[in-house]
């Protein structure tokens, strides 16, 4: 009798294990360094946060696998006049709780994203009014003609108005004030996946949305997001089969991952250029020892440029996975040309001469500020730069810190010499000039100022004649390149490592789209 019941218990346990392992069969286990900061779709405009939101929320329009803009919640749209757009919505869309999605939800979401606590308010600041014309039509008005409205809308996710009202989250979570809201840990979108478990920084479970409106092109039942901060632990977990895909595989481990036989690596040039900034306006460098600002002289900036052996960085630090850059933008962006992307040659002797000509034959002291958890091997690149500048007599001290501190201190104008990376989500050069080169631009921390460039930016914004506009872009690039306003390093290449059986298409914006992903057995 006793043994019989023991058997029964054992059998039940065995069954439980078998069921739990079978139940996990259609699951992709996904890992990266960080986690989404919040599930509130309008609270934080940040990489991993958007990656997660993208699986559960949808926008009026979206970028597909080829990065071109296409319809999502809107089927079609037209501009009735230069500042008025009308969007027709899909009529078969429901939220995860079964409620129908209508124009009311869209209007609510766009207005929500304009609230003061939203992190997307700058993004759509040109929108002056949003209103529902009928249940499935929405009209959007902008202040001025806006050629990149669709780009901007592709990042504004639509959430349920009813759900938001019921759960007291009609305004976005105020991230900066440390606010805690229902929407931070719960979501109500229309996307192909819904969140069923959320343990921040540990585990997030996405389940397939069986009632999704679109054509299902994936065979997944679940996605488990398991963030792992330490790079080698992440690789170990991938190699031991505990993970299916890592979307930020460390470059040094790619060969090892490839050689395992069960794994593959996908690499793609990312839409991001890494460069160094040199403050050329300050009268005296904060970290210098010369009492003046050597960066005011173009010779010094050029000496720094030519002292950097970018090929060595590419080969040793990036393991071949980078393309040396001549300008801070990349192929595919309006205004990019191969000629502009050519670099000045690496030449230590010339660099030394330039430095001597500028009046600093013995070099000087300077601090280089770097993030250590933002770009691919950021700290290692900076360390290499320190060594290379040492060879022309410049004594560089490295200050590498976590990204939030690095960016905050840059914003506070504390950097003489710093690393930054810039992406171009709009795929237009205007975005780069608007943030990096315009006088007093928000990320123009080198304090570059040139009236001709500023004028060209005005042309980029208002000119509808494409030829004239392109000419302005080309002229602006030539000026900033010749002046060495920044010191470009390379275009970043990102790598995803996964099991061979897992197909998640890689995209240059580093965002996976699991609705196009498959796992074979």
């Amino acid at each position: 009798m006793k043994t019989k019941s023991l058997y029964r218990v054992l059998l039940t346990l065995l069954l439980a294990f078998w069921v739990s392992s079978a139940w996990a069969a259609n699951t992709i286990k996904w890992s990266m360094q960080g986690d989404s900061l919040t599930l509130d779709p309008h609270a934080q405009n940040e990489g991993p946060t958007t990656m997660v939101s993208r699986q559960i929320y949808e926008a009026l329009v979206t970028r597909g696998l080829d990065m071109s803009i296409g319809p999502q919640l809107a089927t079609d749209w037209k501009a009735t006049n230069p500042t008025t757009w009308v969007f027709n919505l899909r009529k078969d869309v429901t939220f995860h709780n079964g409620d129908k999605m209508t124009s009311e939800d869209v209007v609510f979401s766009l207005l929500r994203a304009q609230q003061p606590s939203s992190d997307f308010k700058e993004y759509i600041s040109t929108i002056t009014s949003v209103k529902a014309l009928d249940e499935y039509t929405v009209e959007i008005q902008t202040k001025d003609p806006n050629p990149i409205l669709l780009n901007q809308l592709s990042n504004i996710f639509v959430m349920s108005k009813k759900w938001a009202t019921e759960n007291f989250v009609i305004v976005p979570q105020n991230w900066d004030a440390g606010q805690e809201t229902f929407s931070a840990n719960n979501a109500m979108g229309t996307g192909p996946f819904k969140i069923t478990l959320r343990e921040p920084n540990t585990k997030t479970v996405f389940k397939k949305n069986k009632k999704w409106w679109g054509e299902v092109q994936h065979n997944l039942d679940e996605i488990h997001l398991l963030p792992i901060a330490n790079a080698s632990t992440r690789v170990a977990a991938l190699l031991s089969g505990e993970l299916d895909i890592v979307t930020d595989a460390p470059v040094q481990d790619l060969d090892r991952i490839r050689s395992s036989g069960d794994h593959k690596v996908l690499s793609i040039e990312q839409m991001r250029t890494i460069f160094l900034g040199m403050d050329q306006a300050a009268d005296k460098l904060r970290s210098g020892n010369t009492g003046d600002n050597p960066f005011k002289k173009k010779e010094v900036r050029q000496a720094f440029y030519q002292a950097i052996d970018i090929e060595a960085i590419k080969e040793k630090v990036m393991r071949g996975l980078s393309s040396p850059a001549g300008i801070i933008t990349f192929p595919g962006v309006t205004g990019y040309t191969k000629e502009l992307d050519e670099r000045l040659p690496y030449d230590v002797a010339a660099a030394k001469k330039l430095l001597a000509d500028a009046g600093y034959p013995d070099g000087f002291d300077i601090e280089l500020r770097c993030p250590n958890d933002r770009y691919v091997n950021d700290e290692a690149i900076c360390t290499a730069v320190v060594g290379m500048l040492g060879k022309i007599g410049v004594n560089v001290s490295l200050n590498a810190q976590t990204k939030s501190k690095h960016f905050k201190e840059l914003k506070d104008n504390q950097g003489d010499f710093y690393m930054l990376g810039w992406g171009v989500p709009t795929l237009d050069s205007h975005y780069v000039f608007h943030y990096l080169y315009e006088t007093e631009a928000s990320w123009n921390k080198v304090n570059f100022s040139n009236a001709e460039v500023d004028a060209a930016v005005r042309v980029m914004e208002g000119e509808v004649d494409l030829e004239k506009r392109n000419a302005a872009i080309a002229k602006a690039w030539k000026i900033v390149k010749d002046d060495i306003a920044y010191l470009p390093l390379h275009h970043q290449v990102i790598s995803w490592a996964s099991k061979r059986s897992v197909d998640v298409p890689i995209r240059p914006n580093n965002e996976p789209l699991f609705r196009f992903s498959n796992k074979r057995y």
């Binding site: 080698s232 690789v235 040094q252 360390t383 040492g390």
Partner: protein, 308 residues
């Protein structure tokens, strides 16, 4: 002068410690290893083949060179180079100097604090003794690593970032030192209690020798043996604590890497085949701690104080 040295030598030769030392191969081997490590670390400028912190001597193209005996190795880099082209051997020796400086200073700090408190507590007794012993009890229950993390955490909040990097090493010495002193306090108090009741102390008191003089001139030399044993074992613990904190990323700044920092950096290259970048610093650290522990173990057995 000469005869004096001779007597000193012969005194050493005749002592039981010397006798048991030459009888113990582990003691000899571990001290030889330690002497070599200490020498190389403290005279690293003369011993190390390169100065890994002189940027002009680095060549990035020679980064990731494997150890010299392997196929792609280069003779001038015996243990290979790291990801920046720094010679591993030199980097390890420089790192070991940082680890040793932190370890020694922390132990010295806790020794001074612990012995002073223990000695005075044992000598004066009373309420003062009670308070000191209560403090050691509380301190003993707080694990060293936690204490060190807390001190470091608080220091990070108080000291600005620029200063923190410069202060980091002092913060670390304080953080590790503060968690080791109760051991010294306990032992020196116990020894003091024994010595205090001996005739020579009573005699000194009667002839009017001051308390301080009695404590430091008469009692102190008699408690040096147990203190030395605790100090040796504590040194190993302090070195491990330092490397652990640096490994966790809250120790010395990466611009002056200690052994723990080197292991943390090298850890990134564990799977990429560049095993030497993490393996050699780790082996070096274990060798160092193991040798100190072996020596400490031998000292404990030889000097045989009642230690638990």
């Amino acid at each position: 002068m000469d005869s004096q040295r001779l007597t000193l030598l012969s005194r050493i030769k005749d002592s039981d410690i010397y006798f048991s030392f030459i009888k113990s191969p582990t003691a000899i081997v571990s001290s030889v290893i330690l002497v070599i490590i200490f020498f190389c670390s403290f005279f690293v400028e003369f011993v190390a083949p390169f100065n890994p912190f002189d940027p002009s001597s680095l060549s990035l193209m020679e980064a990731f060179t494997p150890p010299s005996w392997s196929e792609k190795g280069m003779a001038k880099y015996i243990l290979g180079t790291d990801g920046q082209g720094r010679d591993m051997l030199s980097t390890i020796l420089y790192g070991s100097r940082i680890s040793l400086i932190v370890g020694f200073s922390a132990i010295l700090f806790s020794l001074l604090l612990g012995v002073t408190l223990g000695l005075t507590a044992g000598y004066f007794g009373g309420k003062y003794e009670m308070i000191v012993m209560r403090l050691t009890d509380v301190q003993l229950t707080v694990p060293s690593i936690l204490m060190a993390l807390l001190v470091d955490g608080i220091a990070r909040g108080i000291i600005s970032r620029e200063l923190h990097d410069e202060m980091a090493i002092y913060v670390l010495i304080f953080a590790i030192g503060i968690s080791e002193w109760p051991q010294f306090a306990r032992v020196s108090r116990a020894a003091t209690l024994v010595e205090k009741n001996k005739d020579y102390v009573s005699a000194s008191t009667i002839i009017g020798v001051s308390n301080i003089l009695i404590m430091f001139k008469h009692i102190l030399p008699n408690i040096m043996r147990p203190v030395l044993v605790i100090g040796t074992i504590g040194l190993a613990l302090a070195i491990i604590a330092e490397s652990t904190l640096s490994f966790l990323g809250v120790g010395v700044p990466p611009t002056t890497p200690s052994l723990g920092t080197l292991i943390r950096i090298g850890n990134d290259f564990l799977f990429s085949g560049e095993w030497w970048i993490t393996f050699f610093p780790a082996i070096f650290l274990v060798l160092l701690a193991f040798s100190i522990n072996l020596l400490g173990d031998w000292m404990r057995d030889t000097l045989n104080p009642k230690l638990n």
